[in-house]
Structures are given as structure tokens and as C-alpha cells.
């Protein structure tokens, strides 16, 4: 039986970049071609900062984690053989989780969190102008961290479920379950027009 499923835009997995692959760029950098890193950096900067920001809800920390992530790449932490982008998000994810754990251990975090959640200092206001985006950001922020990370990696970064599983150190099945749970949660948290869909 022959059939095909339409692949919607948000589900479309990016093919090879128009140019050298991530691995080729990194290898070029290691061979002394420093501008190659600029390309690699530009390719992933917004994605990494965006992911980490949505995990941590803090711009400074997001940038620190992004810096640390790229530093580890240049320090040779990535070994050829695995997926580069999965490695990159693995580092960013683990650093984010570390920071979240650290926050939870300190009373200081509670004060900061309350301050950040106050309307006058809401980070959404400085980053998200659009109401829909704002609502979605707030709903994502209310998800448990592992479910939030799964949604951001699978839908936001359009990584394969296998890559998400690798990044989060869990099984494919857990990724699928978390996505399903997260969607149900988000449906309850989001206004009807977004949770009902447009088509």
C-alpha cells in the first residue's frame, strides 16, 4: 500500500544546511580556520539561547549557559561519531537542569523567582510582544521542567524523538509520553484559540 502523510511546516525536519555540515565546520575550526566557528555559532546561537532561556527564564543565565555550551564544544568535548546538534543540546540541557537544581537548593532563588514573576519585571514583556507568544511562554513556564524541555526540544528545535531521548537520557517511549502529557497540560493552560488549533 502506497501512501504519504503531509509533513507540516513545524514538523519539517531541516535537511543538510546549505553549506558545510556542523561537523565539517568544527573540524575546520580545529584545523585553524577560526571563521568556521563563527558560522557554527551563528547557526546555533539563537536556538541554544532560546532553549535555555525558556528553561531558566533568565536572560543572563541563558547567555552564560550558551557561552559555556559553546566553550565545551571548542574545548573538544564533542567527539566525531555522534550527532553534533544532539551533543550541543545535551550540554545546554544538562547545564540548564544543573542551574534549576541549584536554584531549588537555595532560598535566594525563591526571592528571585517571585521578583521575576511580578508583572513589572516579567521577562516575557521584554522578549515577547505578541500576546499569543506571551501566553504560550507562560504556559510553558508552568510545565514541569522535563516536560518543558521535551516540548522545547521536539517542537521548538524540531529534533528527532531519538535525539531528544539521547539529550534527556531517557527512552523514546518516555519522550512520547512526556509530549502527550505536556500537550494535555498546555491545552488546559492556554487560551482556547491556541489550544484548539487553527485548521
Amino acid at each position: 500500500m502506497s501512501y504519504s502523510l503531509p509533513i507540516p511546516k513545524p514538523f519539517a525536519h531541516h535537511g543538510p544546511h546549505g553549506g558545510p555540515s556542523d561537523e565539517q565546520l568544527l573540524q575546520a575550526y580545529r584545523n585553524g580556520d577560526h571563521p568556521a566557528f563563527n558560522l557554527l555559532f551563528e547557526r546555533y546561537r539563537d536556538r541554544i539561547v532560546g532553549y535555555v532561556w525558556r528553561m531558566l527564564r533568565n536572560q543572563e543565565e541563558a547567555e552564560e549557559v550558551a557561552l559555556e555550551t559553546f566553550c565545551r564544544v571548542l574545548e573538544g568535548a564533542w567527539k566525531p561519531g555522534g550527532s553534533f546538534r544532539a551533543f550541543l543540546f545535551t550540554v545546554a540541557h544538562r547545564l540548564s537542569i544543573d542551574r534549576l537544581r541549584r536554584r531549588q537548593r537555595t532560598a535566594r532563588f525563591q526571592r528571585l523567582w517571585k521578583a521575576a514573576a511580578s508583572p513589572s519585571r516579567s521577562p516575557e514583556q521584554s522578549v515577547v510582544a505578541d500576546e499569543t507568544h506571551r501566553a504560550l511562554e507562560l504556559a510553558l513556564a508552568r510545565l514541569p521542567e522535563l516536560h518543558r524541555a521535551t516540548v522545547l526540544l521536539y517542537y521548538g528545535q524540531e529534533l528527532k524523538s531519538r535525539e531528544v531521548a539521547e539529550i534527556m537520557g531517557c527512552s523514546d517511549q518516555q519522550v512520547r509520553s512526556r509530549l502527550s502529557y505536556a500537550r494535555k497540560q498546555l491545552r488546559q493552560l492556554l487560551p482556547d484559540e491556541l489550544s484548539e488549533g487553527e485548521s
Binding site: 500500500m1 501512501y3 502523510l5 509533513i7 507540516p8 511546516k9 513545524p10 514538523f11 525536519h13 577560526h34 566557528f37 563563527n38 555559532f41 546561537r45 539563537d46 536556538r47 539561547v49 532560546g50 532561556w53 525558556r54 536572560q59 541563558a62 547567555e63 550558551a66 557561552l67 559553546f70 566553550c71 571548542l74 574545548e75 521577562p123 522578549v127 515577547v128 499569543t132 507568544h133 504560550l136 511562554e137 510553558l140 516540548v151 522545547l152 517542537y155 521548538g156 524540531e158 528527532k160 524523538s161 531519538r162 523514546d172 517511549q173 512520547r176 509520553s177 509530549l179 502527550s180 500537550r183 498546555l186 491545552r187 491556541l194 489550544s195 484548539e196 488549533g197 487553527e198 485548521s199
Partner: protein, 230 residues
Amino acid sequence: MKQSGPDPKVEGRMVPLASDGTLAGLRPDDLNHQERRALLRVITSKNGSEERSRALALAQAVSDLPPPTTELHPADVLSLLKEREQARLVQRWRLRAGVGLFLVAGVITALLVWPGPTWDPGTLQLEARATSQGVRRAVGNGSLLPADAKVELSVAATGSGQLFIVERWGYDSTRVLLHGADAQDGPHRVTFEPSTSGHSATYQAWLCPPGADRWSQAACAREYLRLDWR
């Protein structure tokens, strides 16, 4: 709609079949053949179609979230990397300097504290024979001898080192009878007449570490005997 049948594979991996609700939120390229067919059935049903639409809308919305503005540049990464390398270099030098200092301190301490190679004196034996009026006999500690007796002291050691025999009498009178003889040459004999009469004298044999030019209480082994002269 639950799936049943043999375990499917996604890119060679064994994965249990997903439920309809789970399937609706997944991309086709993450599904195996059987799941894709199931998804096709799901999206052609009314409920499944709505579920799929909601999932697509959510995925689209999450994907469309704008990245936060950031001023990060590659130079920031390279600069941080350079700082770290310098810090590591300094740390490495500090570590090396610390290790070097520790070693030097250790050597100095060892030189100051170490008593030198362990020296085993073995056993030291001091014997005496006295000859008086043509009669020769062995004498021991505390023996009483006539004033005209000639005494022969014999000292022998099983270990190596320097042998000394010292005669002490009175308040602080001392006479060296044997000075720095090599213990490995065999027993050494010294014949003498007493330096005093009507008193006691003590004869001390010292075995000192090789190279010693004098005896000392701390470093040498000692044997002695006391003789009384009429």
C-alpha cells in the same frame, strides 16, 4: 485505538506502539511503518483529526516562538576560552610550583631528620685476661687484681665500624687504649698495666659507625667491665 501485533521498529530500534493521543503529536519521520499507518487512520477520523490539528497548532506555535534577543558573539566564546586557558596555565604552574616546593621541603626535611643509612653494630664483645706472678687467667666484671697484674683486653665485633677502648678512673681521668681500629680486621688485643693502683677502673669498648673518629653515647655500641686493683 490501541495497536497490537509484533513489536515495530523505528530505524532499527524496538519501540512499543504509541496510542492515538501520543501518535497525533509526533512527526511521521519519528514513526515506524505500522505507526504511520495508524496515524493515517487517526487523522481521517473526526476526533483524531481534531487532536492532530491541535498538536500541529501547538507545534507551530512553539516553533514560532521568537528567540530572545541576545548580544552574544563568537568573540565572547573565544574570549572566555582564552581566559580559561590562561587560568588553567596559571593553575598548572601553581600546581607544579607547589609540587616542586613540596618536594624540596621534603628533601630538606629528610636530610635534616634522616639519621643516615641504618648501621647494624652486631654484637660487641669485651674480654679481659690478667697475668700475675706467671699465672694467666680470665677476669670478669668486678674482678680484684694485684697491683702488678698485666691485663690483656680483647675486643671483637661481628659488625663493621671503628673500635675504641677507653680506660676511666678517678673523677674524670681517661686513657685511650685503642683508637679507631677497624672492627672487620678481627679481634683486637691491648695489653697494658693499670694507670692507677688501689682504685677501680672501668674499661669501655666502643664500636662506632664506619668513619667515626671518636666515640659517642648516641651513635655507638658499648661494652664495659670494671676491674679493682689492690
